[in-house]
């Protein structure tokens, strides 16, 4: 028996429902409404199109400058647009900085996130779950500038106590803070896909004599793997695009390094530097930020598409 929810408590006034309206008027009204809804849906396509056109046009403008060449941009290992007599625009130091921060964040957040998700979904009692899940949601809603502040005032001083090599700005601190930022994303999305695995699979494995560990790790996790991988990819996308943490805590030297104690500049941090500075709007430094943005857009776009592909191709369906 289907019952209407209580929000529907006031039935429509019969007079208004029964008002005689010609079919033509009704059809017309319906068409207008559907049309405007369709226009709303097209807006999202327009947004993507405009992003691509704006980035492509400005990036094209950037490559017209005599200091810039396509070969140097994709092959060069020096990013030095502001200082010095000779300007160098090789993207790899910025990409390297981004990847270093992302790698540090992922190596913390992915394992901890998945194990916490398994605990919440398979082991925790409903009461524990009911307190921990909202706490994670709060963590997910904290503005990223707060994590940047945390990195600068708490994580960096702690790191400096363990090793003298850490400066006031370093990749490790920003990476850890980014990891804390993406942890709730990994955890919450993985937990959702773990809980979507039907109970019958767990019951079957338990009936065969498996322990809870066997059931969780050998049955439930493999069944939810596509969702977990998609959560990983989404979290990595977020880490790559993260701006305020790295702008505050990672420093401003664009260099290729694997040393987590070093200062690095990410793609997003470079854009912040340009848009906060007073580079003239038609200068090569200013335009270079659009080329960096285009690179960032392509990277995150590719990762999102990969995530969608994984979800579609490898999803296990049970019902």
């Amino acid at each position: 028996m289907t019952t209407l929810p209580s929000t529907l408590h006031t039935p429509r006034d019969p007079a208004s429902l029964g008002r005689a309206k010609s079919t033509a008027v009704r059809v017309l009204r319906e068409r207008v409404i559907v049309g405007s809804l369709a226009i709303a849906a097209c807006f999202s396509i327009l947004v993507t199109g405009t992003i691509i056109v704006v980035l492509a046009r400005e990036t094209w403008g950037f490559f017209q400058f005599p200091d810039v060449s396509l070969g140097e941009f994709f092959g060069g290992t020096e990013w030095n647009p502001l200082l010095g007599a000779e300007k160098h625009f090789g993207i790899w130091p910025l990409v390297g900085g981004t990847l270093l921060i992302t790698a540090i964040a992922a190596s913390f957040a992915l394992p901890i996130g998945v194990v916490t998700a398994v605990y919440l979904s398979e082991y925790a009692s409903p009461r524990v779950r009911a307190t921990l899940k909202p706490a994670l949601e709060v963590l997910a809603g904290v503005p990223t500038v707060v994590y940047g502040f945390f990195a600068l005032t708490i994580i960096t001083p702690l790191l400096q106590k363990t090793n003298d090599g850490f400066g006031n700005y370093n990749a490790m601190s920003a990476g850890i803070a980014t990891g804390i930022m993406i942890l709730p994303i990994v955890c919450s999305l993985s937990e959702d896909s773990l809980r979507a695995v039907p109970r019958s699979l767990r019951d079957g494995a338990l009936a065969l004599g498996g322990t809870k560990f066997d059931v969780s790790v050998k049955v439930v996790v493999p069944a939810a793997l596509s969702g977990i991988v998609a959560a990983f990819l989404l979290a990595i996308t977020r880490a790559i695009g993260e701006t305020m943490i790295v702008a505050l805590a990672a420093g401003g030297i664009a260099q290729i390094t694997a040393d987590p104690r070093a200062e690095v500049q990410t793609m997003t941090a470079y854009m912040v530097q340009i848009f906060l500075g007073d580079a003239p709007a038609d200068g090569v430094e200013y335009k270079s930020s659009y080329a960096v943005a285009a690179m960032l857009f392509v990277m995150t776009f590719a990762l999102t598409m990969l995530g969608q592909f994984v979800l579609r191709r490898f999803r296990e369906e049970y019902d």
Binding site: T3, G141, L208, E242
Partner: protein, 311 residues
């Protein structure tokens, strides 16, 4: 299951794994606690009523957050007023009207992609599309087309420049995919028997949506809307691209006013070397987190109050 291992060793593995689980979970909670405690520790001392009602200042003792706080309110209000109708409309179209076609699949994939675009890229789009209107009205603010008196509520100009309107619309781009996806989930959760019942009574598609599906999905839609608004309040990168770090000494008067927002004020203070400004940043974070908790609490309340199971 492995048969070559004794039950004892498998039980031991189970216990060990549970220990690891408990360890990582408490680590995650400790981090959250550490974050909150350290910020309260640093910022509680400078938090006062004066801090909320004063404008920014070079002297830490007199600095306050009135302008960024009201700037955030204006920007988020504009953002919500545009993003919610647009997002909910898109979701209704995709879930209730559109047939499964190539077009809807493209729109759906596109929305997923938009959700993954870094917010700073939206800042660039907002700068070009809203602040400069693609350069259609020249690139100088002096050349702008002006309507009305600068002090009045109805003042308007083209292009928008780094105004609250441009800021709100830019944040709208950031949260639009989130609103669409959460509304779609809420609509999908409405049992199809409700729709079938309405159709059987002779209702048109729109009558079914307006009278049956939407009211049933309202709790879910509102929860999603509130959570995406709390994202909008915390976003700072796009606004930074749009207008930089503005020092603003008045509250917004109209859609074209200059503005500051709370997260950028926090960024500004946190980036300075003096300890006194760090304390101010921590105090501003406390205000920001209180607003955020209010929003989250409201979402939980709505979920509990309105969400009665549909079976």
């Amino acid at each position: 299951m492995a048969t070559d291992r004794s039950t004892a060793s498998r039980l031991l593995t189970n216990r060990a794994f549970l220990t690891v689980c408990l360890f990582t979970t408490s680590l995650a909670m400790l981090v959250l606690a550490g974050l909150l405690i350290s910020i309260f520790w640093q910022g509680f001392g400078t938090l006062s009523w004066k801090f909320i009602t004063n404008f920014a200042s070079r002297k830490p003792a007199e600095a306050g957050i009135l302008a960024p706080l009201l700037g955030s309110v204006w920007v988020c209000a504009i953002c919500g007023l545009v993003a919610l109708p647009l997002g909910v409309g898109t979701a209704i179209f995709l879930e209730e009207f559109a047939k499964r076609s190539r077009f809807t699949r493209i729109v759906q994939t596109n929305i997923m992609n938009l959700a993954g675009v870094p917010s700073i890229v939206y800042g660039i789009l907002g700068l070009t599309a809203f602040a400069r209107l693609f350069g259609a009205f020249g690139n100088n603010t002096e050349d702008a087309l002006v309507f009305g008196d600068e002090e009045s509520l109805l003042f308007f100009r083209l292009p928008f420049g780094s105004s609250v309107l441009a800021g709100g619309l830019t944040l709208m781009l950031v949260i639009l995919p989130v609103v669409i996806i959460s509304t779609q989930e809420a609509l999908r959760a409405v049992p199809s028997s409700l729709r079938a019942g309405a159709f059987a009574l002779g209702a048109t598609r729109w009558q079914t949506v307006w009278g049956i599906t939407l009211p049933a999905a309202i709790p879910g839609i509102m929860t999603g809307a509130i959570l995406s608004m709390s994202r909008a309040i915390g976003e700072s990168a796009p606004i930074l691209v749009l207008g930089g770090l503005l020092l603003v000494f008045n509250t917004p008067k109209n859609l074209m006013s200059d503005f500051a927002i709370l997260p950028l004020q926090i960024y500004n203070w946190a980036g300075r070397p003096q300890e006194a400004f760090h304390a101010l940043a921590a105090s501003a974070i406390i205000v920001q987190l209180v607003v955020l908790l209010l929003f989250n609490g409201l979402a939980v309340l709505i979920r509990q109050r309105l969400q009665k199971p549909l079976q």
